[in-house]
Symmetry: C2
Subunit: 338 residues, 2 copies
């Protein structure tokens, strides 16, 4: 009941192992194997059901045909959609994917990268978290194929794919303006990631464009390292102190969900007392009455573009990637919270 090896196939076909290998790897022409022989080999392969031993191939070629996907949290709908699309695309190209989550643990990111390095993944797809900067820089320096998603580090010359954050917030703000809201608060969090500063910049810009004076009091940054409870209290206080607001823009879906809870506690109903809009969709936003308006990320687009960029790096030693910093437009999903 032992595994069929290339040698066995060779013996069955009456040829040398190398010949079988050539045929199986499409090098029959190049190695001028007669069609006759090639066909005989293919016959034996097909009806014996032989499949190459991936580990052996990996050892010999140095290619694991495996990609590493490192995300913040393995739960969360963002990851779920991302993973699905990436896995499908990867499989189509003959690659496997291993997932890892940093679970918001700064140093775990680095460990994971090293772990995957040992495991010999051929390339990395990463949603960067604060603290992973150096590890990612190292990967780039070692010329390992990497594509960042959802965020990036301005100092590192790695390809990335993400939503156009500035444009996304603009969409949301325009929608709020259209609906007549003018006193718009903004809730963010103090992580130094580029997407958050972009969103904030867009919020300020949007106000300016409408000639609404920007008031610092209407903006709050929750503390990333605080507990959920602390953040909730913080947010509740912010809303209570800004009774005149007619709408709140939440910079991430985590914040938005927190917002729903805070508003619930304050017995403020949407959109009567307060309109709510959130960057990044979430299952809950569809279900939670009355439905939360949001800016949806083009997750599938991000995933497939990221794979494409990674493959370009894997395929050959082509020169520096050009046009490898991609932003894709988000989509406004209007529900009844605005």
């Amino acid at each position: 009941m032992k595994r069929l090896t290339l040698k066995d196939v060779a013996r069955m076909a009456g040829v040398a192992p190398s010949t079988v290998s050539f045929v199986l790897n499409g090098k029959a022409k190049q190695m001028r194997i007669r069609d006759e022989v090639a066909q005989k080999i293919m016959g034996v392969v097909n009806q014996s059901g032989y499949e190459p031993h991936r580990v052996a191939v990996n050892l010999r070629t140095g290619q694991s045909k495996t990609l590493g996907l490192i995300v913040e949290s393995i739960s969360g709908s963002f990851f779920a959609s991302l993973a699905r699309t990436i896995e499908i695309e990867a499989e189509r190209l003959g690659y496997n994917v291993v997932y890892c989550s940093t679970e918001n643990n700064a140093e775990k990111g680095g460990e994971l990268i090293r772990m995957l390095g040992r495991q010999m993944v051929d390339g990395y797809l990463i949603t960067p978290a604060p603290g992973m900067e150096n590890d990612i820089r190292r990967l780039v320096q070692m010329h390992k194929p990497v594509v960042l998603m959802d965020s990036y580090f301005p100092g590192i010359k790695a390809p990335y794919v993400l939503i156009d954050n500035f444009h996304g917030v603009q969409l949301g703000m325009d929608h709020l303006f259209e609906k007549g809201y003018r006193k718009i608060g903004y809730v963010s969090v103090d992580i130094s990631l580029i997407q958050l500063s972009e969103r904030q910049r867009s919020y300020v810009q949007a106000l300016r464009k409408m000639e609404i004076p920007f008031r610092k009091k209407r903006m709050v940054e929750l503390n990333y390292h605080d507990s959920r409870e602390q953040n909730l209290a913080h947010l509740e206080a912010f809303i209570r102190e800004n009774r005149d607001l007619d709408a709140i823009f939440f910079a991430t879906n985590y914040l938005g969900i927190l917002g729903l809870e805070a508003l619930g506690r304050l017995k403020l109903s949407m959109p009567k007392h307060m309109a709510v809009i959130c960057f990044d969709d979430h299952d809950i936003f569809r279900l939670y009455p009355p439905g939360i308006t949001c800016i949806e990320q083009p997750i599938e687009g991000i995933a497939s573009k990221a794979i494409t960029l990674l493959m370009k790096q894997l395929d050959k030693q082509q020169g520096p990637l050009k046009e490898s910093q991609v932003t894709l437009p988000g989509k406004l999903i209007v529900r009844s919270s605005t």
Copy 2:
């Protein structure tokens, strides 16, 4: 800038490669390597930062030190918690985990198993879906280490770990009775999985125990293959036709969420018009006003027990596993929907 190999280390330490291997694998005593030599080797290893090439080790030993985790859906909180716990436990034991989701695709499950087989995982952790029965049977016949979670097939002698479904529903029903509810509906789905029939059996039994006549009309099975919209309509009709119900028991969290939407559409509020309880918790149940009562699965317990059972199979060729069909008690989480 090439990778350091065992040979390099051997040369640096002035010994043979085999000697280094013995020392690194803790066989120094057995192979009577002098402490002196062993220590010198360890010195070289430590300060050179050598790490064995996993692929080569894998090829030689036939052990990939990798486990395959096959779940229905890679989103979903059940999977998220499961994956986290399993990954942590596995890492502690020196194993990696690759995830795969069947995405409710009957035949994809089989493909995955074969795919992982090719990839040479050492063992399988599977949450069985309908249609995977034969593939799982094959695994067991081939004496591949397998542990099933969340469900099992009565005909297959594979170890499994799952919540005590009967007891869980009982907990929920007792809670409903205690709160004074007597007209209790039951919503299930027509998948032939053991956990669903167990839950249903428990529902019927609980009614009998309270001497409440079981009425078929109060129970509905949605069609697994219907679309979300169809199911929603089906559920809405069920509720409309059972106006006299004062509580509904949903057999899975997917059904529960659907129920929330249906009740929302019918403008029925919980628990005033209808109490709601659901088997298996979900993020949304915590947030959705007024909070949904549910039976929580002991996910971490399931995960760690499953790993333990798998390791027992991996460790040695010990005889037939005894006490390998495990059920763990669930926990009632009371929120304001009851």
